[in-house]
Symmetry: C2
Subunit: 697 residues, 2 copies
């Protein structure tokens, strides 16, 4: 019937507008039942359950058999980790798999059979599930004694496929790969030619005293390759050249040439290439988001314009304001936006909306939420007004900064004085007293500011919230200290009592004070710019970080499986600072942390084990990790940072006058000036290609 | 008289055109005598003498007293360096100073008194000379026994002031300093806050077993600062966190936070800032060069237009073709350009040249020299034509590459097989034989190519010159080997004979073969692009490299003076691989090479000497060097590389069709499409501001 049709159209419009808000594709089934399922599927609860499942299945690695979740990383002192009985983690896994099966079925159903075949991600999802379930069955049939578990390496895929941003980024990285591969090839050629040169240059001589270089670094082809590869990461520089250099200074020319060509030219060329390929990435991604939004709104307009209440012979399609209101009631969206749209709909006071008017109404979605701080209280008394003026003045804030600085300096002085003292010689009286006074000042500052600004206005500034929270915590800690240990007096050196010793309490207070000092950041213009850039970057970086997590997880699991039991306690040798085998500046640290005890990269151990097969694997494994994380990922990060920063810096002048208003910046807003609005033709062409929606016209 | 005036005008025009060609400023005296002096001063001989003087005064450091110009760097085995007698280096120095005094007087005279006061570089030059001469007198009056020689640190200034490109770059770097300083300040804040945190976190505890972290890395404020600063350079990562990490894995959070914030964010932010500030640098510098060129030409036009032979009442100023020809005869310039200008002047066949026509004539200067290869010889015989077709075909070149690759692989195989053999067990027969055959093939290839292309065409390709030269050297080496050691036969292992042993000869041949393999580069498209980018970069980088040399020289001299005799032979401890004190990836290596024996950064020595005052200085010295070279210079380099590469990459598509023609690329040509021509008004305004030239109109 017509009413049912109308209901369907309304529902379609609701879903399309929700798609537009969330930047989702509108290419899904649009019949009543599918729409109901679609809204359920994208409801907060369902998505939350899905995210929880992904988290759980990823977290399983921490308690599964070769895990290293212990306090100490020292293999000698570490108690044996808890091994869950066979079937426990497996049943949790099965539950997760069932959720994923449901997820993939709903998703496949919703996009329809024809679209399914085009969607490689969905097919890979199904394949991953099949492999995982098969592996799970094999695992159970061996009663969990099998050593190879493929499904554990596949787990991060579930995280990857659930984020459209990550998929988009991966596509983008994929398109950069050919150029990157060229430079990596160039690096490989560079490395191999220099390796051959090195082997010819530092060959074995008859005099055993003279060929230290050959003995340690260039004994054979794999050793030479490793030495130079590690030199490329600058980790064994200058150790690697010292023996040759002591013999003859001219040998250093070889190492300088290698480092300058490899490290200065080729490595930075990689940065240049990645930046060049990535320059348009953010803009393109934001542009496609905008297109999805406009398309969703347009689709809603088109279905609403086919509502039966309107004469079909009208020249131009239009939508009645009543229908739109009906739709808006049903749409789930930010209440501020909804109200703003309702308001402009009323103000427009037109019954019929054209396509352009319809789009214009929804432009509210693209606008910044300009945050307005609540007003200060208005005091009647003249004295109170004066107080308000004094303590609401920026100079009072600056005074607070100066006091915080003084506190930091006093802590620093005490630290320097106490640095070499035995714990039993330390006198906590001085620090205890001054901290007490400083904390009292902080409390007073907070109260006076609240008095001047009113509680709501005070809390509306993030810097005040940060400040106030720390002040309250400091106060509680201080009160607790006095309650347990009494007031400070000379020679105040009580023994351990309660949960924390006095010394620990004082340390904690000091750390919080150091942390509180960060409140100065918004007061320094350049620092504020840098910090907002970094915060923006963190937002844009989530997809990148996600991909790094995916790769890292796969690597960690592979590493755990490869090197299980490779490090056995060997008396004292297995512990102590790892020496120069430090591939890849920051990233190895991360890998290091996860399975510190499970690897043979300890300087001492490396030489012991280098003849073993396992360390060959370790080398390849580390080189792969270094290439992916340190070379590619870090360069991608630099590219993103350059793009963000340059964009922001260019806009700094424009914004200078508006600096008082805090913008809720998003990537979409950052690029608003450069984005192109999609044309009517593009939108309609895309709409006509919709696999499930038959438009009347 | 009028003739004398005319001569003066002609001479002025000649000098202005020479200024335009060399991109020099035209703001110098323009009377007859000054012009004569000016042309003498900028003549090749004078400039060559000046460069030689600068080289000599800089090179003095290698033979002056605390020098380290010995073959070995090992303080134990090193023979005492040769000490020149007092007065030898000093008299060379005096000669150099006299040349500089002459230089500065001529320069000051030529730009005139009024301009002199505006020129800070000239004043600094004079000041440097005064200080140096005073120091020289002090030195002689002490009979060379004084320890502090300021003039040695000032020496690189002479290099700096002689290069306009370097001065320009320095100005550019100077304008970037405020932003860089902000980030460095941010880094300092980051470092100091984390140091305080670390000192609170890793404080001394009662249990001596537990505070390894405190003992080694965070004993007091300077130690903590150093540990974290070195962590920022990733040199002591992960060593620094191992003790704390073994105690409790949670401590790693501190180190990860520090590294991610400092190394990933702040350090890369520095790259972004420097790139952002430097983006326009190349373009701006090329633009100002273009302005100087146009200005010189215009000035020549203006003085020529005031020649008496032309009626003064003419509406538009113009220049007679005869006068221009007269000027061109006298101008020293590239003969190809001169001929081209003469030719267009004749083709134009107009007696009077307007300003626009005059400028147009000299546009020849801006054009690429398109290199045309001489034609191949034309053979009469049908057989020879066929031969020419076969061996002139690119496929013959590819075959040569394949053969070179096969040679490389065979050397590699032999190297792998011989890697662990004693020198006495090695059999050089196999390698000797195959190398002999390969070299014969190379010779044949060269001869056939010469046959097909003709000698002149063959030599006009740089890749052929490279190839041919190496082939000839290889041939000579091979013949020498056979002459000394006879033909190879199984068990061919002769003893040492003549200048080099057989084994050294074979090694040298192999190295040359590996080097010859680089001929494949132009055949691979991407590699060729990368290599030409790098070569372009090297051209643009000369100014940067010069500044690095200046800074490095000053640092090296300071270091030699500060740490003279700091490293004394201590049995075995002073030698052996330096351990983790590896500040700054590539640059320390450079510093290291220069005065390896004079520093206390050896891992073992660092701990021995860390209580001494000298190592405090060493720390500050190294941190300064690290900041300047590794942080600032490397980032400038990356900025330049990004700019060069992105520009080149964008133009790749345009040039693809023209790839057969080899361009003599210069920075000026690279930016030609984007450069703005200066307007007539700008030129005339600048000309009227000329301090010495009075224009009639």
């Amino acid at each position: 019937g017509s009413d049912a049709d109308n209901d369907l159209y309304i529902n379609q419009a609701v879903v399309f507008i929700e798609d537009a808000i969330q930047y989702r594709s509108i290419n899904h089934r649009v019949d009543s039942k599918s729409l109901w399922l679609y809204r359920r599927y994208y409801s907060r609860t369902c998505q939350w359950i899905l995210s929880l499942t992904i988290t759980i299945i990823l977290a399983l690695a921490f308690i599964e058999e070769p895990s290293s979740l212990t306090v100490t990383s020292d293999v000698r002192y570490r108690p044996p980790a808890w091994n869950p009985p066979c079937g426990l983690t497996e049943s949790v896994e099965l539950l997760c798999f069932l959720v994923f099966v449901a997820d993939v079925s709903v998703k496949s159903y919703l996009i329809g059979w024809k679209e399914f075949w085009k969607n490689k991600w969905l097919m890979a999802y199904i394949l991953t599930l099949i492999v995982s379930l098969t592996d799970w069955i094999v695992s159970l049939s061996f009663f969990c004694t099998e050593s190879l578990r493929i499904r554990r390496i596949l787990r991060p895929f579930f995280l990857l496929q659930n984020s459209s941003m990550m998929k988009k980024t991966l596509k983008s990285i994929n398109s950069t790969l050919p150029e990157m591969a060229s430079v990596v090839l160039l690096l490989a050629v560079h490395l191999s030619l220099f390796t051959m040169f090195a082997m010819l240059l530092f060959a074995r001589t008859k005099d055993n005293q003279q060929d230290k270089e050959w003995m340690v670094y260039f004994r054979n082809l794999p050793d030479s390759l490793t030495s130079l590869l590690v030199l490329l990461t600058t980790a064994n520089n200058p150790d690697v050249m010292i023996p040759a250099y002591s013999k003859n200074r001219a040998y250093s020319i070889f190492f300088i040439l290698f480092t300058v060509l490899g490290n200065l030219f080729l490595m930075n060329l990689l940065t240049a290439i990645i930046y060049n390929q990535f320059r348009g990435y953010l803009l393109k991604s934001v542009q496609s988001s905008l297109f999805r939004r406009r398309l969703g709104i347009r689709a809603a307009f088109e279905v609403l314009s086919s509502l039966k209440e309107i004469p079909a012979n009208a020249q131009q399609p239009y939508v009645s304001a009543g229908a739109l209101q009906q739709v808006l009631q049903k749409v789930e969206m930010d209440s501020r936006c909804k109200q703003a749209i309702m308001r402009s709909l009323k103000m427009c006071s037109c019954d019929q909306l054209s396509a352009a008017q319809f789009q214009k109404l929804f432009e509210e979605l693209d606008k910044d939420a300009i945050k307005q701080h609540p007003p200060s209280p208005e005091y009647q008394s003249h004295f109170m007004q004066k107080l308000q003026f004094v303590f609401g003045h920026p100079y009072f804030g600056y005074l607070g900064n100066v006091v915080a600085l003084a506190n930091i300096i006093s802590i620093c002085v005490v630290l320097v004085m106490d640095a070499d003292k035995q714990p039993s010689e330390r006198d906590d009286f001085f620090l205890g007293t001054i901290n007490c006074f400083f904390i009292l000042y902080y409390l007073l500052e907070m109260l006076l500011k609240i008095l001047a600004m009113g509680l709501r206005r005070y809390l509306s500034y993030p810097s005040n919230r940060f400040d106030g929270l720390l002040t309250v915590i400091l106060l509680i800690l201080e009160i607790a200290t006095f309650a347990v240990y009494g007031f400070p007096h000379p020679g105040w050196r009580p023994e351990f009592m309660g949960l924390l010793s006095l010394w620990d309490m004082v340390r904690l207070v000091n750390m919080l004070i150091v942390f509180r000092f960060l409140r100065i950041i918004p007061n320094m213009k350049f620092m504020a710019l840098v910090v907002t850039t970094l915060l923006d970057l963190v937002k844009n970086l989530r997809a990148f970080a996600g991909i790094l997590v995916v790769v890292f997880y796969a690597f960690a699991i592979t590493g755990i499986m490869l090197f299980k039991g490779a490090v056995v306690p060997l008396g004292n040798t297995s512990v102590g600072p790892t020496s120069s085998w430090n591939i890849g500046p920051t990233t190895l640290m991360t890998l290091l942390i996860t399975f510190q005890g499970k690897m043979c990269f300890h300087g001492a151990l490396l030489h012991l084990l280098s003849v073993n097969l396992i360390c060959r694997w370790a080398k390849i494994y580390f080189v792969a990790w270094w290439l992916i994380s340190s070379v590619i990922w870090v360069n991608l990060f630099v590219a993103l940072l350059l793009e963000n920063f340059i964009h922001k810096w260019d806009r700094r002048c424009h914004r200078a006058s508006l600096s008082d208003i805090e913008y809720q910046r998003t990537v979409e807003l950052m690029f608003r000036d450069v984005l192109e609005e999609p044309t009517e033709e593009e939108l309609m062409e895309k709409l006509h290609q919709h696999p499930h929606l038959q438009l009347c016209r």
